[in-house]
Structure formats: structure tokens, C-alpha cells
């Protein structure tokens, strides 16, 4: 089994290095095919591991080699495949294989084709390290690795200033959170003496509650950065500057869910501190609502989906915060499938529309892009949580968790958000695929994507449909061998049915409303658009402006001040040292005039200096001289 573990882990990096060889050369289809094939190999290896674990196999734990061993600190390159990580591995490899296949078509005309695949595979490798590591430090390495790859891929079109800006924003925001994460890891090591998961978690119950709370908060701040939770959320929407497959893979399906994975992985810690859990859940619910409202009015197709991702991450954190770790992981998995599908569909639309992102300039694409329409509708239905698609099983479960745990406020917020989700999802679908043709006037003639891209998306479509229905039971049995097996059932049948059907009706009503409003000719209601609420939402609650005004500007001023200090003190002293030597050289080079007599004289000067030194030392050692001097009061 170790063989499969290593194959799953290292196949992507080989693909990445291979594609990297062609990095500077012209587009070469091999550079796309080989990483894709290797990812498929990784996928097969992961599948083999999944079957093994499902068949009741023991979790695999290997140590490749020692990484650091200093004093009490021992960190190996250790990897672990247990029920949780194998789930993540399946999600990562499945989505990334699909995205790779899709990218061969999507990046077809791009100059950076080879480079793109190198980055993308490197990302998958980092993500695999992240999920497979058996210690916090390995996780952190993967964490940083995906951060770097994300940075590279958001800024993939580096000639666009907005792309480089977005890449830097994402990286810097993550850096802030990573600092907290690192502090959290230090605290874990400081208090438990180990950073191996099993040892650290075993030592935790004996620790004081305040210490655990501190650790939990710091680790969660790290998770907040990666999963773009409020107030570190602004980068995710801007990250949509990257190519669409990147958005699908990194900023929807895998990397942003790493925060959720961290919380799930650290469940023994969060179980001990339920107060922090409640905070996480509250923040999650807030973000779910907050992001969904922003998605309502946005006019950028990819940003709408990005806000939807943010909202769904909020859901996952609600589940994780309330102790329903397996539910969080389940929603993570289901969400990865349909959200990646949604993004890939959006990529098709973008291609057809020549990179137009405003859905108000599209309309009636269902005739020319039938399959994309079907797949995206499917994904939206799954996202909205209509029975029997994936979203129903995972998302409604979260609602139930909130209800069963008696967090009725959270429940209400999440329920409302579910309605909002359905509304904005179908607003998007209606605007893009239905209604009147608004794009022909711009001279755009849409065409369907390559056939193989559609075939590549099909597995995600199937998974979006069946993931909830088929996987739920085996998944539950498998994962609960590790995670706390709490079944969330509403004991009163009447309440259960009222809630389920009520939710479904509410969601369907939202969908119908969205269709009604947008599937016909779009009327722009000036009155609403100039309203305060609309403006507030459209400007993302003015948070980016707020950050710009109060953080970026202040930081800039501080930096400029520091720059001046640097110039006047640090630079000046460095230059000063150099100038001293330079001037000494200028002044003393006359010494070297080639005149032997002068040289002799200098030689004597040297002799005298040496003699003086020798005299000073010998006299200093002489007791009599020291006595004499001390009597004179010199020493």
C-alpha cells in the first residue's frame, strides 16, 4: 500500500517538473498530456487506497525520512492515509484530473500553456502534501505550497496589472493568516512537545482550557485566511483574475477548503473547546449570509460564483464549529464537485463570449451551448440543494445540525442563505442561458466548447448528481471511524418533514422567482439600483474601500517613513563604511609610489608599531609595572 501512497503523492510533482521543462518553449501538447496522465495515475492510486480503507484496512502511516531532529523536536517526512485524508485525496485528485483535461482545451490558445500545467500540477502536489501529512509542519509546508501555486496561478497573466495585484493581495492576506497559523503550531509544540497529530492530540486533554483556546483560535485564524473567511475574505473574489480552471480547482474545490480540512483534522482540539466552536459556527453563518448577499447583485459571473464559494465555506465552518466534522467534510466533498463544475461551465461561457464576464450582456445561450447549459443548471440545482442532488444531502444536513444543536439563530440564517443561494445561482443561469439575446449586438457569436472538454466535465456532473445519494452511507461509515460519529436526526417526524419540505419549497420558490425576474427580457430598475442597499451590496459592503483607506494607505505611509529612515540611517551607515575604505584607499595609494626608499620608511613605521604593541603586552604582564601603575592611580 505504501507504493500507492507514494504514487498518489509524487505523480503530480513529476508531471509538474516535466511540464516545467517546456516552460520557456512554445506550446507543446505533450506538456499538457503528460501531467494529466500522471494525475490520472495519482487518481487511480488514491482510488486504490480508498478501496483499501473502505474495505476496513488499517490507516497507512509511513515515514519517508527524517526531516529535522534537534533536541526534543523530531519532524519526519511522515505521511498518513486515514479515512479523512483519503476522502480529501479523492476530492483533490478527481477534481484536478478533470480540471487538467479541461485545461488542455481551455488553455489551447494561450502562450503560457506549458507553464500553466507545470503550476497546476505543482499545486496538486502541494495539496496532496497538505492533506497527507501526519504532522502540523508538513501540513504547513503544503499550506504554503498551495499558497505559492495560488499566487502563481492568479497572476498567471502577469502582464495584466489587475492580475498581479490580485495575486499579491491573495498572497499577502494569506501571509497575515499564516503568521497566526505558525504561532498556533508553535504553541502546539510548546505545550504538547510534539507536532505529530496523534501525539499532540493525545497530550491535549491534560492541558489547561485557556491554552487550548489560544491554540484553537490561532489555528483557526490560519484557516480563516486560506478559506477566505471574514474579515480576510476580499482576496477570493479578486482571485478570479486567474484562468477559470484555476478558479475551479483552487479557489472553489480544493485550496480554499484547506481551512475546513484543518479544523476537521484538529477535531480533538476543537472538541475540547466548544466555545471556540460556537464562535467558528457563528462566523461561518455570518459569512454564508454576508457572501450570499454580495452575490445577489454582482455583475461579474465569476465573482458571483466566488461569493457562492465563500458562502458555502461558511456552511462548512458552521458544521465544523458545531462538532459535526463529518458533515463539514461531506459538504466539502459535495461542494467541490458541483462548484468545480459550475466554474468550468462558466469557463465555457467565457470562451464563447470572448472573455465577457457580465451576464447582463449574454442571454439566450442555451440554444448555442446546450451541453454547458445542462451541466451548469445541474450544478446550480445541486448548489441550491434540491433533492436528490448532492447539495441536498450535505447542505440540508448542516441545517439539521444547527437545528438539532439548538442553535436556532444559526439555523434561521442558514435557511435564509439557502434561499439566497438558490436565487443568485438561478439569476446567473437565467441571465446567461435564457431571456433575450443581448450578445449579438456586441458582435459575439457563441460556440460550444471542445467536445472532450465537455466529456471531461461529465464525471463532475455525474458526481454532482449522485455524490449525496450514493456516497452518504459508505462515507459516513468510513469517516466516523476517525471522526466523532454523531448522527443528526430530528426525532420528531412531523418537524423533520415540515423542515425538509419547507426548505425545499422555499428554495424552489427562490428559483422560480429568479427565473421569473431574469429569464425574460431584463428590465433594469433604476430605482432599486440607486438604492442604498443595492449600492452597499454592489460595493461589497465597502470593505475593499475600507481596507484600502485604512490599512493600505496607513501601511504605505508607514513604509514611506521607514524608507526614509532606512535611507538616512541604514543606507547611510553602509555607504559610510564603504566611503571610509574608499577614501582611505584614495589617500593612501600615494604610499605605493614605487619608491623603494619610501617603502623602507614605511617598513620602519610598521616595525615601530609592532614593537609598541609588543611593549604594551609585555609591560602589561609585568607585575611590577602593574603595581607601579596602580600606585599612580592609572589603573
Amino acid at each position: 500500500m505504501e507504493f500507492y501512497l507514494y504514487t498518489a503523492l509524487f505523480a503530480p510533482i513529476i508531471g509538474s517538473l516535466f511540464a516545467g521543462l517546456f516552460g520557456m518553449s512554445k506550446k507543446n501538447i505533450i506538456a499538457g498530456l503528460v501531467p494529466t496522465a500522471l494525475l490520472f495515475v495519482s487518481f487511480l492510486a488514491s482510488l486504490k487506497l480508498l478501496i483499501y480503507i473502505l474495505g476496513g484496512g488499517e490507516p497507512i502511516h509511513v515515514e519517508l525520512m527524517t526531516w529535522m531532529a534537534t533536541g526534543d523536536l523530531y519532524v519526519p517526512y511522515g505521511f498518513m492515509v486515514d479515512q479523512v485524508s483519503v476522502t480529501m485525496m479523492m476530492v483533490v485528485t478527481t477534481v484536478s484530473t478533470v480540471v487538467h483535461v479541461y485545461s488542455i482545451g481551455y488553455m489551447d490558445h494561450d502562450k503560457g500553456f506549458n507553464r500553466f500545467f507545470s503550476y497546476l500540477s505543482a499545486f496538486v502536489f502541494s495539496m496532496m502534501v497538505l492533506v497527507m501529512s501526519d504532522n502540523f509542519l508538513g501540513l504547513f509546508i503544503g499550506w504554503e505550497g498551495v499558497g505559492v501555486c495560488s499566487w502563481l496561478l492568479i497572476g498567471f497573466w502577469y502582464h495584466k496589472e489587475s492580475a498581479t495585484w490580485a495575486a499579491n493581495e491573495a498572497f499577502i492576506m494569506n501571509r497575515i493568516a499564516d503568521l497566526a497559523m505558525l504561532i498556533g503550531i508553535f504553541l502546539v509544540y510548546w505545550n504538547t512537545g510534539s507536532i505529530q497529530y496523534n501525539e499532540a492530540f493525545a497530550a491535549m486533554p491534560t492541558l489547561e482550557n485557556s491554552v487550548l483556546t489560544t491554540i484553537g483560535i490561532f489555528l483557526f485564524i490560519g484557516a480563516m485566511g486560506k478559506s477566505a473567511q471574514f474579515p480576510l475574505h476580499t482576496w477570493l473574489a479578486d482571485a478570479m483574475e486567474g484562468p477559470t480552471p484555476v478558479s475551479a480547482l483552487i479557489h472553489a474545490a480544493t485550496m480554499v477548503t484547506a481551512g475546513v480540512y484543518l479544523v476537521v483534522r484538529a477535531y480533538p482540539l476543537y472538541d475540547l473547546i466548544p466555545d471556540v466552536g460556537v464562535f467558528i459556527a457563528s462566523l461561518g453563518a455570518f459569512v454564508a449570509m454576508f457572501a450570499a448577499t454580495m452575490a445577489l447583485v454582482n455583475r461579474d459571473m465569476k465573482r458571483i460564483i466566488a461569493y457562492s464559494t465563500l458562502s458555502q465555506l461558511g456552511y462548512m465552518f458552521v458544521a465544523a464549529g458545531l462538532g459535526a466534522y463529518w458533515v463539514a467534510l461531506f459538504h466539502l466533498m459535495a461542494h467541490a464537485f458541483f462548484k468545480a463544475l459550475l466554474f468550468l461551465g462558466a469557463g465555457n461561457v467565457m470562451h464563447a463570449m470572448h472573455d465577457e464576464l457580465d451576464p447582463f450582456k449574454m442571454g439566450d445561450l442555451k440554444t448555442s451551448m446546450k451541453w454547458t447549459w445542462i451541466l451548469m443548471t445541474l450544478a446550480s440545482v445541486a448548489l441550491a440543494g434540491i433533492y436528490p442532488l448532492a447539495g441536498f444531502f450535505s447542505k440540508d444536513l448542516i441545517l439539521e445540525v444547527a437545528f438539532v444543536e439548538h442553535h436556532y439563530i444559526l439555523y434561521t440564517v442558514l435557511l435564509l442563505t439557502a434561499g439566497l443561494t438558490a436565487f443568485y445561482s438561478f439569476r446567473l443561469v437565467a441571465l446567461i442561458f435564457h431571456g433575450d439575446d443581448r450578445h449579438s449586438e456586441n458582435g459575439v457569436h457563441p460556440h460550444e466548447a471542445y467536445r472532450f472538454m465537455l466529456w471531461g466535465m461529465l464525471p463532475l456532473g455525474i458526481l454532482a448528481v449522485i455524490a449525496g445519494m450514493v456516497f452518504k452511507t459508505p462515507y459516513f461509515e468510513m469517516v466516523t471511524q476517525v471522526l466523532p460519529a454523531i448522527e443528526y436526526h430530528i426525532h420528531n417526524h412531523t418537524v423533520f418533514w415540515i423542515m425538509t419540505i419547507g426548505t425545499q419549497l422555499f428554495v424552489i420558490a427562490a428559483i422560480v422567482y429568479a427565473y421569473k425576474k431574469y429569464a425574460k427580457a431584463v428590465k433594469v430598475d433604476k430605482k432599486v439600483e440607486s438604492g442604498i442597499l443595492y449600492q452597499l451590496l454592489y460595493n461589497q459592503y465597502y470593505i475593499p474601500q475600507f481596507y484600502e483607506e485604512y490599512f493600505s494607505k496607513m501601511y504605505r505611509e508607514l513604509s514611506e517613513m521607514m524608507w526614509k529612515i532606512d535611507l538616512k540611517i541604514v543606507d547611510a551607515s553602509v555607504d559610510g563604511v564603504a566611503n571610509i575604505f574608499y577614501n582611505t584607499g584614495i589617500k593612501t595609494h600615494t604610499m605605493q609610489n614605487g619608491n623603494l626608499s619610501t617603502m623602507l620608511r614605511w617598513m620602519v613605521v610598521g616595525t615601530v608599531v609592532l614593537l609598541a604593541l609588543a611593549a604594551a603586552f609585555t609591560l602589561g604582564q609585568s607585575e611590577t609595572v602593574v603595581e607601579l601603575l596602580s600606585e599612580l592611580g592609572v589603573i
Binding site: V604, V605, V608, L611, A612, A615, L619, S622, T624
Partner: protein, 187 residues
């Protein structure tokens, strides 16, 4: 008696060497140096190093001075030596400083009393005999090396002063070397 001899010779050597250093006349310098060497040998006799005193007279006053005298025959030594002077303050200042520090070191009561003689002088044996015994036992290899060195120096002196040695390829220009080789080829 010893003190009188010491001070006498000390004054004499100092004066002689001062003349050597300060005079403008090469011949005076040479003569003063030779005299100074002989007076120095007097110190050796005073110190009981008879052999060294003898060597001093033979080698310095005999050989070295003769060599200098012969060397001077090559140069025009009858007229005053004209030298561009550097500022005397620097020279005397530096020398004085050097002397002062060394004297300070010597007079400071630090020369340790626990030095044990490596090759102690043996009572009842003459100095030359003792020197011979030590030289041919403990210092045999340095002695031989010194002998080889002297031989090399002698050969070097002969070769350097010999004919054709003023012919240096490194100091010649390219064309000169070329012309020379052409001439040789013609011959």
C-alpha cells in the same frame, strides 16, 4: 675595569656607526664601519665569547669589508655622495621611538628568572672548544645548511658579477629581442 672597557667601546662603536650613517663620503663611511666592527668584537671578548670575536674580525673586517672595498672600486666613490634627503625629523623620530620601546621592554623587570640554559657553558673548557662541541652536535644541520648557503652565495656572486649578466630579456623591448635573434640566426 670591565665597566671602563664597556663604556669606552660603547662610545666608540656608537660614534663610528653614526659616522657611517651620517657622512657624505663613501670612503669615510666604509672606514668607520670597519672600525665599528672591530670595536664590536671587543664586546664579544668582554663577554667571554672569544670565538665569536675572532669570527667577527675575520669575517666582517676581513672578508666583508674587503668585498665592499672591491665593490666600491666599480663605483665612483671619490666625490661626495649626493642624496635627496627626506625630512630628518621623521627618521630620527621613528628610530628614537623604536629604540625607546625596545629599551622600555628590556629595562622593565620582567625578564624571567626561571630561564634554564639549554646548552650550559661548561667550566674549565675554553670558549672555542665549547662552541665547537655544540656546533658539531646540536647545530650540525644548521651549520651544514649555512655552509651550503655560503656556497650558493659565492656562486651567485660570481655569476652575477660576471659578463653577459647585464643582458636581460625581460627588460628589453620586443623589437630589440627580435633584432638580436635575427642577428644570431645570420651568424
Amino acid at each position: 675595569m670591565e665597566a671602563i672597557a664597556f663604556y669606552l667601546f660603547a662610545v666608540l662603536t656608537t660614534v663610528m656607526f653614526l659616522i657611517t650613517v651620517l657622512t657624505n663620503h663613501a670612503l669615510y663611511a666604509l672606514s668607520a664601519l670597519a672600525a665599528g666592527m672591530i670595536f664590536i668584537s671587543a664586546f664579544f671578548f668582554l663577554l667571554g665569547a672569544d670565538f665569536l670575536g675572532a669570527i667577527q674580525i675575520i669575517v666582517y673586517t676581513g672578508a666583508v669589508m674587503a668585498l665592499y672595498a672591491f665593490g666600491m672600486m666599480f663605483f665612483d666613490t671619490t666625490r661626495d655622495v649626493v642624496e635627496s634627503r627626506t625630512s630628518p625629523q621623521i627618521i630620527f623620530g621613528l628610530s628614537g621611538l623604536a629604540a625607546l620601546t625596545v629599551v622600555a621592554m628590556f629595562t622593565a623587570p620582567i625578564i624571567s628568572e626561571n630561564i634554564t640554559a639549554l646548552y650550559p657553558a661548561i667550566d674549565g673548557v675554553g670558549n672555542s672548544q665549547m662552541v665547537g662541541m655544540v656546533l658539531f652536535t646540536k647545530f650540525l644541520i644548521p651549520f651544514e645548511v649555512a655552509a651550503v648557503m655560503l656556497l650558493v652565495a659565492m656562486i651567485a656572486g660570481i655569476v652575477l658579477a660576471g659578463k653577459k649578466m647585464d643582458h636581460s630579456l625581460t627588460l628589453m623591448k620586443e623589437e630589440e629581442i627580435e633584432r638580436e635573434t635575427n642577428e644570431k640566426a645570420q651568424v
